[in-house]
């Protein structure tokens, strides 16, 4: 069984991103970049399936500028077997990423596509579902557990009311939630080995996909600031303030 794992290069989750002073975009100068945390969980899940003997080959794919080869190498160091880089400069919207991934899916015919539920930069939460629609595959979004069976996969999903279990025919798409697993760290020998693993590069033209713009960002701004609060001395004062000043309790 083959697994395709999609990974995205994003600003490291520890970086507090700010709007540029002219409001044109966020300031990404000299910030640390990393693999999107949800994508890391996706790689880990594929590696665990391979260790369990369910998956025989893991292909890591990333769409973006040349920098994202770093994140493909990270995925290779974590246990993916080979990489595919679809080189596109500038921002690529979820629908275009989904179209590019569809082309890779057609080329690779994976049984499982595992990807993050959202990236922590755009917070769109779209690409996996869009790939599902374009390929006709079923989707197990926000997965907290997966069990691969014969021709199908059972997915436990984190939904608003609790947990939902669904069954999908293979091939299928899984998008990962936080509690699916805890990703490992890449060991130094594996990081060295990853440098020798194969990595192919394609352009959108080679995949016959036109990268289009549907939604443009005209400006960014910081969110409204909350006015500074006060420290209360004790519970009695807290209750008094809530009752008589904020008037949120009776």
């Amino acid at each position: 069984m083959k697994a395709l794992v999609a990974v995205k290069r994003v600003v490291d989750y520890n970086v507090k991103v700010r709007a540029k002073s002219d409001g044109s975009d966020v300031d990404l100068n000299n910030v640390k970049m990393a693999i999107n945390p949800f994508c890391e969980i996706a790689v880990e899940e594929a590696v665990r399936l391979k260790e369990a003997g369910t998956v025989s080959e893991i292909v890591a794919v990333s769409v973006g500028g040349s920098g994202c080869q770093e994140q493909i190498r990270t995925a290779l160091a974590l246990g993916a077997d080979r990489g595919i880089h679809v080189e596109v400069d500038g921002k690529v919207e979820p629908l275009s990423v989904a179209k590019l991934l569809k082309a890779v899916v057609q080329q690779e015919s994976p049984d499982l596509v595992i990807m993050g539920k959202q990236s922590i930069d755009g917070d769109n939460n779209q690409t996996g579902q869009m790939l599902g629609a374009l390929t006709g595959m079923g989707q197990g979004t926000f997965a907290s557990e997966i069990k691969v069976g014969e021709g199908s996969v059972e997915v436990i999903r984190e939904v608003d009311g609790g947990l939902q279990t669904i069954s999908l025919k293979l091939p299928a798409i899984i998008t990962t939630d936080l509690r699916l697993n805890e990703p490992r760290y890449a060991s130094l020998p594996n990081i060295m080995k990853a440098k020798k693993k194969p990595l192919e590069t394609f352009t959108p033209e080679q995949l016959s996909v036109e990268v289009k713009t549907h939604v443009t960002q005209s400006s960014v701004a910081p969110p409204p600031e909350r006015a500074a609060g006060i420290k209360v001395e004790d519970v009695a004062q807290l209750v008094d303030k809530l009752r008589n000043e904020a008037k949120v309790i009776s």
Binding site: K16, V17, R18, V26, E93, P94, L95, I120, D121, G122, D123, N124, N125, T127, Q129, M130, G132, A133, L134, G136, G138, Q139, T141, R157, E158, V159, D160, G161, G162, L163, Q164, T165, I166, S167, L168, D177, L178, R179, H214, V215, T216, Q217, V220, A221, P223, R226, A227, G229, I230, K231, V232, D234, V235, A236, L238, V239, L242, A246, V248, I249
Partner: protein, 309 residues
């Protein structure tokens, strides 16, 4: 301009998130219809018909839609979408699940999680866990939008009398099946709809200690939430999680207990009207967003708070 709001419901009744989405549709203007897709969903459809200002309710009652499987619902919405300029759903776990499929089927982009409607094609939305608010413009003729429920006050639930039209379209993609659901049953208000929320974090130390929050929640008719750290540690189930990747809440009163205030958590609650933080670490970032901060040991403060209410 015509807008279709896809209802969030449990077949018997309408969820309040639908009314938040209707409010966003009203901000866009024009005619608004509501789609109720489910199985045995007449109750929800009748409730939708009572929302004032709705032109009609489309009721698609079919076994294929019973559990809101995205593969099936998206085919229905994409087909009905041919008649509309805008397709809106609340940005709930369910809306997030099927709407991007609809957008892809229609070959348009999706605008996720809008906070405001600036004009017919321009919206604001949070990016980078809400640390930045982006203004975005869609160039698609048909717009597929999910709505951040806390950003739009719910439209009234009653007073209207829209017609209910049955839709026979049956779409079963045949690639997915519902197996079971483990839904927490609680007498408390829903986390995303409660006017008071009290949440515990890693400082609670274990799941049993969440009982300290229950007495207070009972007195305030509050929902109980948790930080990601508390959920990851297994103190409480995932549906308690408030944050960037959990639930987004904006109650009148939010009480954060033993929560340090990671960006991830703040993204889910910082639009609350009044925020109270109880934490023994006076440097905890949660105090930067709290209207009232109490530096105290929660194991002493919580019983005292319960007694004082």
């Amino acid at each position: 301009m015509k807008t279709l709001v896809i209802a969030e419901h449990d077949n018997a009744s309408l969820k309040i998130a639908t009314l938040n989405a209707v409010a966003a549709a009203q901000a866009l203007g024009g005619d608004i219809d509501i789609l109720v897709a489910g199985a045995g969903c007449d109750g929800a459809a009748q409730a939708a018909a009572q929302v004032p200002g709705i032109s009609k309710v489309i009721c698609a009652d079919n076994a294929a839609y019973e559990h809101q499987l995205a593969e099936n619902i998206s085919l229905l919405v994409a087909e009905l979408g041919a008649d509309y300029d805008n397709l809106l759903a609340a940005s709930t776990a369910n809306g997030k699940n099927f709407m991007p499929r609809v957008a892809a089927l229609l070959d348009v982009g999706q605008i996720s999680d809008i906070l405001s409607v600036e004009s017919a094609d321009t919206f604001t939305r949070p990016i980078y866990a809400g640390n930045v608010i982006a203004t975005v413009t869609s160039s698609d003729a048909k717009k597929v939008i999910t709505v951040r429920t806390t950003a739009f006050d719910p439209a009234p639930a009653e007073g209207g009398a829209a017609t209910v039209e049955n839709c026979a379209a049956a779409h079963d993609a045949g690639v997915s099946a519902f197996i079971r659901e483990e839904v927490a049953v609680s007498d408390r208000p829903e986390l995303t709809a409660a006017s008071v929320v009290i949440s515990g974090g890693r400082g609670m130390q274990n799941g049993d200690n969440f009982s300290l929050l229950e007495g207070i929640a009972d007195k305030l008719n509050a929902a109980i939430g948790a930080s990601r750290a508390a959920v990851d540690a297994g103190f409480v189930p995932n549906d308690y999680q408030v944050g960037q990747t959990g639930k987004i809440v904006a109650p009148d009163l939010y009480i954060a207990v033993g929560i340090s205030g990671a960006i991830q958590h703040l993204a889910g609650m910082k639009d609350s009207k009044v925020i109270v933080a109880i934490n023994k670490d006076e440097d905890a970032p949660i105090f930067q967003v709290a209207d009232y901060g109490l530096v105290a040991d929660l194991f002493e403060a919580l019983p005292a708070l319960e007694a004082a209410l």
